[in-house]
Symmetry: C2
Subunit: 340 residues, 2 copies
């Protein structure tokens, strides 16, 4: 009659239920489930049977609260539809595998205020570490991160100072090397096709690096075309059409990334322009789509998977926020391809 808990499943199976069935105390069950401390073989057997019988699922909220350790890693990326971020997540997943940690992914939509809200929201889950794409945050966001004491990795770029740890590549340098590579190939009449860089700040860094390299050789970007929106294949196609309508004498067009550049190749294919021969095209990222083109895209390969993997390995390898900043350069390489 005085049942402490209504019959059956209403409130869910708890440790207490399992302990009762297995004739041991709750803490013993808890220890067995976490492989913690010495346990008699028969007891373990009995408890595991009870777990199976009851279909017990531990409550991580309670566990995390009691042990003040959630086994969560917060991740904030600006987008999931831009394939580079899922690839970073792939690296994160691979490094998390078998560690008992679980990633919580949030998407900021390239908006720093949204990012700030997400940081607050994720910190509320008491993650043990946090990975955030980019080095650029609101002051408030930075303060919350520092104040939380959580280990932070900022990934993708290493062009400015991180809070603790940055893992990625120098986009400015990548842009610069792109310029040098193309100059070395003899191109002199440069066009640039980009997308909205108020949101994609790294695209701007690459652009600036490119301009710097050209400047050193006294070469100018003769025409620039920027799409006011996120990068996409369609935008790349349209923008190339547009820039070519303005200047017919370009010998190379550098795109803000591979999506845009792939669109550029599509425009060429449709308009009967032979890539490289008539007009050289250059991208950034080394995406599959670009490499599968009839004329594989000349581009820069960024190691997205490695970035995610490295960030997590580094974070889980330390128990506290580190004293000193660290910057890990995962590098990049120019893919020669067939378009430049």
């Amino acid at each position: 009659m005085g049942a402490k808990r209504l019959a059956g499943r209403q409130r869910g199976v708890t440790l207490a239920d399992v302990a009762l069935l297995a004739q041991v105390s709750e803490i013993t069950v808890s220890r067995i489930l976490r492989n913690h401390g010495p346990i008699g073989a028969d007891t373990r057997e009995r408890v595991m049977a009870a777990v199976r019988e009851t279909g017990y699922v531990p409550n991580r909220l309670a566990g995390g609260l009691a042990s003040s350790g959630s086994k969560l890693v917060g991740v904030i990326v600006p987008s999931l539809t831009n394939i580079v971020f899922p690839e970073v997540l792939g690296g994160i997943r691979s490094a998390l595998e078998g560690t008992g940690f679980q990633a919580v992914i949030a998407v900021s939509d390239y908006d720093l205020d949204t990012e700030q809200e997400l940081i607050a929201s994720l910190l509320a889950w008491k993650p043990e570490a946090m990975v955030i794409a980019g080095l650029d945050h609101t002051d408030m966001a930075r303060a919350m991160l520092v104040g939380s004491g959580v280990r932070i990795a900022e990934v993708m770029e290493i062009d400015s100072q991180p809070i603790d740890l940055a893992v990625g590549l120098s986009h400015r340098q990548a842009g610069f090397d792109t310029g040098q590579y193309l100059l070395g190939r003899g191109y002199r009449r440069f066009g640039y096709v980009g997308h909205d860089w108020t949101s994609d700040h790294r695209a701007r860094l690459r652009h600036d690096g490119l301009v710097a390299a050209l400047g050193e050789a006294k070469v100018e970007l003769v025409e620039t075309c920027r799409f006011e929106g996120p990068s996409s294949i369609g935008a790349g196609r349209d923008m190339l059409a547009q820039i070519l309508a303005r200047r017919r004498d370009l010998d190379v067009v550098v795109f803000s990334n591979d999506d845009m550049a792939t669109g550029g190749v599509f425009h060429c294919l449709g308009a009967g322009i032979k890539p490289k021969q008539d007009l050289a095209l250059f991208g950034f990222n080394g995406l599959d789509v670009g490499q599968a083109l009839p004329t594989p895209l000349s581009t820069v390969r960024s190691n997205r998977f490695l970035i995610g993997k490295t960030a997590i390995e580094k974070l889980l390898g330390q128990r506290e926020r580190p004293e000193t900043r660290e910057i890990i350069d995962t590098g990049y390489e120019i893919i020669t391809g067939a378009t430049a």
Copy 2:
């Protein structure tokens, strides 16, 4: 001396700290932060100031435990690199916006055992609802889901019976309609290029639907080529080359999806085959990449964003697991394109 908690930040700011500073009880702070119950204007002011001053971040683990409601939605998708799933997640995010719910995303890698583990792991967070791609699960997984009492939506396909709610489209029907469409256009010598369907079970459904439609018209699939691995543009390109090497007389090739079909178009472009004129190509999904091609892909548009959005809206609209199953057909449409 007898400080209950070490000075400063060591253990983090709690409700108690804020309450103390604002000269109110903890519950008042809690209520204010959740907009719950009537609050005096001056009290609210005072408390909010204290929150700001202390930099208080609520502990959701504790909150969820106390209220047995985590404000989490678990999501399991087979992949993030296949762009259709990020698009579903986009719909989920959009529906979750402003509800205070947070999605926890897990990736099963097209493996049902992994999926089962993920389900266990996500249920441990006591989510209020769960979205899972696909209707196919291990018995154990299904049992856990049912036993948990959590509201479940199974998304993408509606070709068999869901646990509670299915949101998606009939892939078999889509395949069937593809067949009818192509027959109606006069094609008779069909080839099929696919990818590994032990993992991508929906691709197989579309294939079966296609074969059924052809069967009704006494037309046969004269050649089939399947890549033993996940779909990709590169695989599509290679497989089309392969199937054409075997049969030169095909007049249409149906691909398992747009990635594969895009690869097919690339092969054609490289080999001087004119899409539609020399060989018709047909995909599935209606991805941007296919539509941006010089010859926009003829394909079937699946409404990924809508699927995610609908699933969440439906789940959050109910407070309990429903008594009756429901199937929501988000439909699809054939895009005529320029390749078939």
